[in-house]
């Protein structure tokens, strides 16, 4: 044997997880939602998703190579693909392509790379891109085409949440409006108008369960978000059922599912410990409902997550994991 022995500190074996395997795991889990989007919105959905993914990867590669001057290979670790997919899932299927490309640039360039790349960003990149687009092109971003099967009243342009918000603003009651929006089952499978990927709670739930099984995410953040939204809306609904819709409606509409399962569980921008993630989730739930009830926008999940992203360092500081032998309870 002529080779020199390698000497390194322990441990000498390594688990199978890698950044790449985690990121591609998330990509796989997004496939059901993509399928539903294609089913309801046709090939437009596929086209937009592909464009967003390609744009995100290319922007990340370019920034790595020419601005950060680091190994551009990390553009292919899969995180840019997730950013692209989530970004596309948050837009209407008839959004002009150039807007989506600009959104991808903002998501990757501003949301992620300006902080130094994967792992250093404070805000969820896809949400940064989405909110940027929402503010820049409010009309295009909030005009949804009806899906292929939902033709009951022709071409409706609004999401269920938007219809309720507008209706209540015009003095109508919830029970009147409820007749116009699809049923809970429709919400669940995704038979309503809305952004590409956020319509089907079922598809997202399947993806979420897959990620839970692969231990990519934990239950803490999603469950605390759902719980908070449910409790908050149940209280408001009991106070005045004609002003505030039932909890199930709030749970299944808007981007709550995709937000809770994909954006709020983003490893980089969520707290590290389970305890912290619960606080984070409760915060998101409360802010979401505040915006939905009393804010200017019908939908508040994106803003809620971005706001809570900013609080993550503080949450981390005050939610240390349970130390071994700290609180001794020997019985």
């Amino acid at each position: 044997m002529n080779r020199l022995l390698t000497v390194s500190p322990s441990p000498h074996v390594k688990g199978h997880d890698s950044v790449r395997s985690i990121m591609y795991g998330v990509v796989i889990s997004l496939i059901p939602a993509l399928g539903v989007a294609v089913y309801f919105f046709g090939l437009d959905a596929l086209k937009l998703t592909l464009i967003a993914v390609i744009a995100s990867v290319i922007f990340e590669w370019l920034i790595h190579k020419f601005i950060l001057k680091e190994r551009p290979a990390s553009a292919f670790d899969g995180s840019a693909i997730i950013t692209g997919m989530l970004l596309a899932f948050n837009v209407p299927s008839n959004l002009p392509v150039w807007m989506l490309v600009v959104g991808a640039l903002v998501a990757v360039g501003v949301g992620k790379m300006s902080f130094g790349g994967l792992g250093k960003n404070i805000f969820n990149p896809a949400l940064v891109g989405r909110v940027f687009m929402l503010i820049s092109w409010p009309v295009e971003m909030t005009t949804w085409p009806a899906n292929r099967f939902h033709l009951t009243d022709g071409y409706t342009g609004a999401t269920p949440l938007g219809m309720i918000k507008e209706g209540i603003g015009n003095g109508k009651t919830v029970s009147e409006l409820m007749d116009q929006v699809p049923t809970a089952l429709d919400f669940f499978v995704g038979n309503m108008s809305g952004s590409l990927g956020e319509i089907s709670a079922l598809a997202i739930l399947i993806g979420g369960i897959y990620m839970l099984m692969r231990k990519i995410i934990t239950w803490h953040a999603p469950i605390s978000i759902f719980g908070t939204v449910f409790i908050f809306s149940a209280i408001m609904h009991t106070i005045n059922p004609e002003m505030y819709p039932a909890p199930l409606f709030h749970l299944l509409t808007g981007g709550l599912f995709i937000g809770a399962i994909y954006m709020a569980t983003d490893m980089v921008t969520s707290p590290m410990t389970g305890k912290g993630q619960i606080i984070f989730g409760v915060g998101i739930g409360v802010i979401t409902m505040l915006i939905r009830y009393w804010g200017a926008y019908p939908e508040g999940v994106s803003f809620a997550i971005l706001i809570m992203n900013a609080t993550v360092p503080i949450i981390n500081r005050y939610t240390k994991p349970q130390r071994f032998g700290e609180e001794v309870n020997n019985g």
């Binding site: 020199l4 022995l5 390698t6 000497v7 390194s8 500190p9």
Partner: protein
């Protein structure tokens, strides 16, 4: 339209004015008295905030000096004697001039001299490697080549030579001492820069007995003591199988260099010797232009009167 603009301008100006008045009184009321000399001294300091003086930043150093009665113990290695003299004058205190210093690397374990026996593969940090084992060679004292000293240098005065695997100190070293603290093996030492940047030192800190030291590295100090006997000024001491040249006593006569059987004694920035075997080592430790062969003084050995 114009009305809006006028109202805006008026409101904002009024707000600004009120805030200014409030701030003015608050600033007055909560003003903390500070010795104005601190600012003066800070002004004179190089603002490198390197910590070479032993204080966290130039401001802290200035405060300490203003408070102290005797500033002879203080030294700003970056500013050097000029800065310290200016501060002494400003504070009206006594100060002795200090020899300017520079960091030297006391290891010459290049791959030719020191056989690699293992391959290190951990976090690329000397401290981590030092914590783990002797390093890639059999020398438990020598340079680990992971570059902790380079990382901590604020002045870009040290770099890692890829070919030799050893750090190289550049002439712009300010002797702040950051690399000395960073080196887990204490290879780096501050020494007087010496006349015309000429320095002689033992480029090894191996305290093993002769045989294992020599086995680990062909240019190790084996503690034979020949240089100690040779030195006319008693500047060299031998302790734990390792010779050390006291830079205060050394007169740079170079007599010790040729007697060393392992070429462990390093001479820097000297003109080449005449009619003697060539200087044992390449002068690799500086980027300063070498003294020209033209003003080559043949009697280097006796320039001991300075």
């Amino acid at each position: 339209m114009s009305e809006i603009i006028i109202y805006t301008v008026i409101t904002l100006s009024a707000l600004g004015a009120v805030a200014a008045v409030v701030l003015f009184f608050i600033a007055k009321k909560f003003k903390v008295y500070e010795d104005p000399r601190i600012d003066q001294v800070e002004e004179l300091l190089p603002a490198a905030n390197c910590g070479g003086c032993g204080f966290p930043g130039c401001r802290a150093f200035a405060e300490a000096m203003v408070k102290a009665d005797d500033i002879s113990e203080f030294n700003c290695p970056v500013g050097g004697n000029d800065t310290m003299a200016a501060i002494a004058t400003a504070l009206g205190k006594e100060l002795q001039e200090k020899e300017p210093q520079i960091a030297v690397i006391r290891c010459n374990g290049t791959p030719e001299h020191r056989k690699r026996t293992t391959k290190y593969e951990g976090a690329s940090s000397c401290s981590v490697a030092h914590n783990l084992y002797t390093g890639e060679t059999n020398c438990a004292y020598g340079c680990l080549s992971e570059g902790d000293c380079v990382v901590v240098c604020d002045f870009d005065a040290i770099y890692m030579d890829e070919a030799t695997g050893l750090p190289v100190v550049k002439d712009n070293c300010v002797a702040c001492g950051a690399c000395i603290t960073a080196c887990p093996r204490n290879i780096i030492e501050l020494r007087n820069r010496g006349k015309k940047e000429r320095r002689i030192f033992i480029s090894c800190i191996n305290k093993d007995k002769g045989a294992p030291a020599k086995k680990a590295c062909s240019v190790a100090c084996i503690g034979c003591g020949k240089c100690v006997k040779e030195c006319p000024f008693d500047a060299i001491t031998l302790e734990n199988n390792l010779a050390y040249i006291d830079y205060e006593k050394c007169k740079l006569c170079r007599k010790c260099v040729p007697v060393c059987p392992t070429n462990a004694i390093h001479e820097l920035n000297f003109p080449p010797r005449k009619a003697k075997p060539a200087a044992p080592k390449a002068e690799k430790e500086t980027t300063a232009p070498k003294a020209d062969a033209a003003d080559n003084k043949p009697k280097q050995d006796n320039n001991s009167t300075n």
